[in-house]
Subunit: 338 residues, 2 copies
DNA sequence: TATCGGAATGTTACCGCGATCAGTTGCGCC
DNA sequence: GGCGCAACTGATCGCGGTAACATTCCGATA
């Protein structure tokens, strides 16, 4: 309680406890041999003073920073908090700590955030996506630390990568939909040219449809606003425009849920008259009147695997660096099974 | 591309550009007078080498760290990402940068996270809640930096605070419910003794009911799982146990939405037979078949105000440090208006 | 022409800590 | 009693920058 404005240093604790700064340092880090008596003296003094070590100085001196930069496009997507939670869970058992940066899906902002984070000399980087500016890629290369690119595996990583193939996810969903006999398929998504994963899903999706001579009969994109409400509105708009649609593929579960609620209200037979599918497998949707067909994006597992790779590499342990997880389709109640 | 493992320093840039390290430092920070010619030389060299400044060293030398610690209980609550976004928005216009720590509603983890963050000597702290361990409070006090406690204003802050009165929020909702003529009121919430804000809302709620001689006829608490699904289940359970319930107050919108969906499916008249209200005003719910009554928690504004206070104090600008925002009740379609 | 002043650049002294190496004890043992 | 080793403690240096002060250079001024 009694401290001047200047913040405390090892020296203060050392003076208060009558030992050298070095010994205080050892006690506080649990390194090397210190007698129980001295240890107690030091700990008491430190606690009494309310001393908090200065990691800045520590990091500079030891050339070690126990931070892992985690760079993601958004926090409001629900997907990323889940990935984060997987990362945290694994890092909790190590001395490493995640630090999050958000890019808002903007490449230039990503570059800025990356620069900022690298300037703290973290022990590793986990970054969403495989698409980065050339400068970002160069920084990652030059950083000399382990880098794991997550979410997506359709492309070439700088170093390691963990994710699913969104192209394949799109393909599989298309195949399932065709197999169930739907023919007039619409696609509803986000207006985000920079969301490469959504784009790849769409590409995979149309690719398979095309092979069967099917084309997406209608599509609509939104941005901003409540996803649930947008799902509703877009679904309504599509049905008005293309009343013969018999399947709607949504680029995420949230708008899918909005669509589902809308159709049920209108008394439309789901999945008889119209089938639906989303993407992500968000837990939240378990409470819907009907279970939306979706595809698990392995969010948590992506986080844990990525963190494990970082943790291993930081300790110079070799570890497979290209992990492609297999998303599983969940038919729910809105996509006729085989 | 051509770099050894050792990371670059000012010296490398200085040698590459033929000027002193000090001059390089000045160029890179845009400080002091440097001739255009030298500036160009330095910038070129820096870019060519791919030099990224070491903030650790810089921070140690300058005793300035442009980080603001933001400590929140959870990221999966949707409430906090929104607060965060308010914070980021304001800090974006300053040189400050938020760094997030998550406590999982555990006081000891909060203490640990706080300690960890303070050891990086941030310029300010924004921390959720007014309840902290004694040690945490001591650390905040001793840190000598601006501290803003957010979300809640029912209590005494260490320094500054921004939020709403959850007690009052509970009271107002109770008053509105009574005024609308409901009598058999149930409460459904989370099993989180450590969520002090939910607790305070509940206290305010029952306090007002008590004044009118009304008691909560039933209550139920959940933990874990999909909030939407839990809202469903709990609502079902309550109706079974207490069929004469005519109002259900949910501690958050998500479970409220689950309850709403359940009741609508059962063909129960909402708000005729049973009225509903939640808490938070989450945007997400705008897509529900009926608009759930709720109360806006001013999440984004809490973030911006808190960040503004930090930004002001960091620059030694005086600024009112006790901000109580007024949440507004939104009747929606599930609470009869007056 | 000698002096002055400001712009441009360099030098020095740390910032707070940890790696390293150098003592200093105490103790068992021959 | 002296030796060797283990257990403990301390002194020094430097991590990569920046603040503060010192210096150089040059044109303007009297």
């Amino acid at each position: 309680m009694t401290q001047k404005n200047r913040s405390l240093t090892l020296r203060d604790v050392s003076e208060a406890s009558g030992v050298s700064e070095m010994t205080v340092s050892r006690v506080l880090r649990n390194r090397g041999d210190v007698s129980a008596a001295t240890r107690d003296k030091v700990l008491t003094a430190a606690k009494e003073l309310g001393y908090v070590p200065n990691k800045i100085a520590g990091a500079l001196a030891s050339q070690r920073v126990n931070l892992v930069a985690v760079i993601i496009p958004s926090l409001s997507n629900m997907v990323f908090p889940e990935v984060l939670s997987g990362i945290s869970q694994v890092l909790e058992d190590t001395e490493l700590q995640p630090v999050v940066g958000v890019t808002d899906y903007l490449p230039e902002k990503e570059e800025k955030v990356l620069y900022e984070m690298l300037s703290w000399r973290p022990s590793g980087v986990i970054i969403a996506g495989l698409e980065h500016t050339e400068a970002s890629r160069a920084m990652l290369n030059a950083s000399g630390i382990p880098v794991v690119e997550i979410m997506d595996t359709d492309g070439d990583p700088v170093d390691a990568m963990v994710g699913i193939s969104h192209r394949r996810a799109g393909r599989e969903m298309a195949a399932a939909i065709l197999k169930a006999g739907y023919k007039k398929i619409a696609f509803l998504g986000t207006k985000m040219p920079l969301d490469h994963r959504a784009r790849k899903r769409f590409e995979g999706f149309t690719e398979v449809l095309a092979k069967s001579g099917v084309e997406v009969v209608d599509r609509e994109f939104y941005s901003g606003g409540s996803a649930l409400a947008k799902g509703r509105e877009m679904t309504e708009a599509v049905l008005e425009r293309s009343p013969d649609v018999d399947f709607i593929y949504y680029s995420n579960d949230m708008i899918g849920a909005g669509g589902l609620l809308y159709l049920l209200e209108k008394g439309i037979d789901v999945p008889g008259q119209i089938g639906l599918a989303g993407f992500n497998g968000v837990e939240l949707l378990q409470g819907l009147p009907r279970q939306l067909a979706t595809m698990d994006a392995c969010r948590r597992e992506i986080g844990t695997k990525a963190a494990e790779i970082i943790a291993a590499r930081v300790n110079d342990v070799e570890k497979e660096g290209q992990v492609t997880l297999a998303p599983t389709i969940s038919f729910g109640d809105t996509l006729r099974g085989v």
